[in-house]
Symmetry: C2
Subunit: 151 residues, 2 copies
Amino acid sequence: MTMSAPDPFAVWLPLARAHKTILTAVEAALKQAGLRGLDWYDLLWELECAGDAGLRPYELQEKLLLPQYGVSRLADRLAKAGYLTRQDCSGDGRGQVLLLTPEGARIRAQMWEVYAAAMEPAISSNLSTGEARRLSELLGKLLRPAPADKI
Amino acid sequence: MTMSAPDPFAVWLPLARAHKTILTAVEAALKQAGLRGLDWYDLLWELECAGDAGLRPYELQEKLLLPQYGVSRLADRLAKAGYLTRQDCSGDGRGQVLLLTPEGARIRAQMWEVYAAAMEPAISSNLSTGEARRLSELLGKLLRPAPADKI
DNA sequence: TGAATGTCAATGCACTTGCATCTAAATTTC
DNA sequence: GAAATTTAGATGCAAGTGCATTGACATTCA
């Protein structure tokens, strides 16, 4: 005897639209600055957080919600650009460890400037501090795992 | 003399993550049902809303936030699948009007079942009615145009 | 009216993505 | 400890995307 559930599309439609709008704006800003897309940024950022330990591709896969081949190829491109190195993984002959290069760190910092500058007008200028807090809190609730009987 | 603006990333990061999570779930459900992706659905839906008047490609471009060539090619695929027809546009020799076929309407209804079923556990089960209302309201605020000096 | 400019839509090409499959190494099972 | 299974990661191929350009018609303006 629970109350009727809310209409999911009342949430999803503006969510999808806001996402596409903001994403498009950020990607355009990056491109205009001669930089690569957010997928590159996200990977570089994770590697930077990982520090000297680096990250295994399968770890990135989880963190970035990318398919396995997505990480494999994205890492290829980053490696070709000189932003990361692949290192044989001691202890697991199948695996490898991805490590950020100094050049990779440099470019990530550069991207960050553009990223943050593009985000500000898209988000901050439309919300008060309280609204932003409440919004991120509510969005966080969407990230809870689906009910077991639906997986 | 305004207060300091909120951190946009506190909103953007969970927003992007929630979006990717939900999108992935819905697309997977559609694929598993042997249906095409949400891009097809969105186009079909707009055509259905437009009724007998149909829609011009450039109108879809605005509604769906797609690039011009994106609409052109998506419409190609839908047409090849028999879900829409292109009709010469009386009054503008450059243009055309896209019209939903009965088969297109049928398939859209079929997709809707899957779409809605996948959305429910992803969203409704994580939010109360009040939370959902507040969330869609806050997301709506993000859709306001950027300040003029930032365009 | 005729040339310049603007708008609607398609497309060639390079790059990216999705899917299925493959190899190699690790782990489990008997 | 050899065979079967699982896991890490790469890759061939088909399909989709982004960018720049083109072609066709419309509109503007001298």
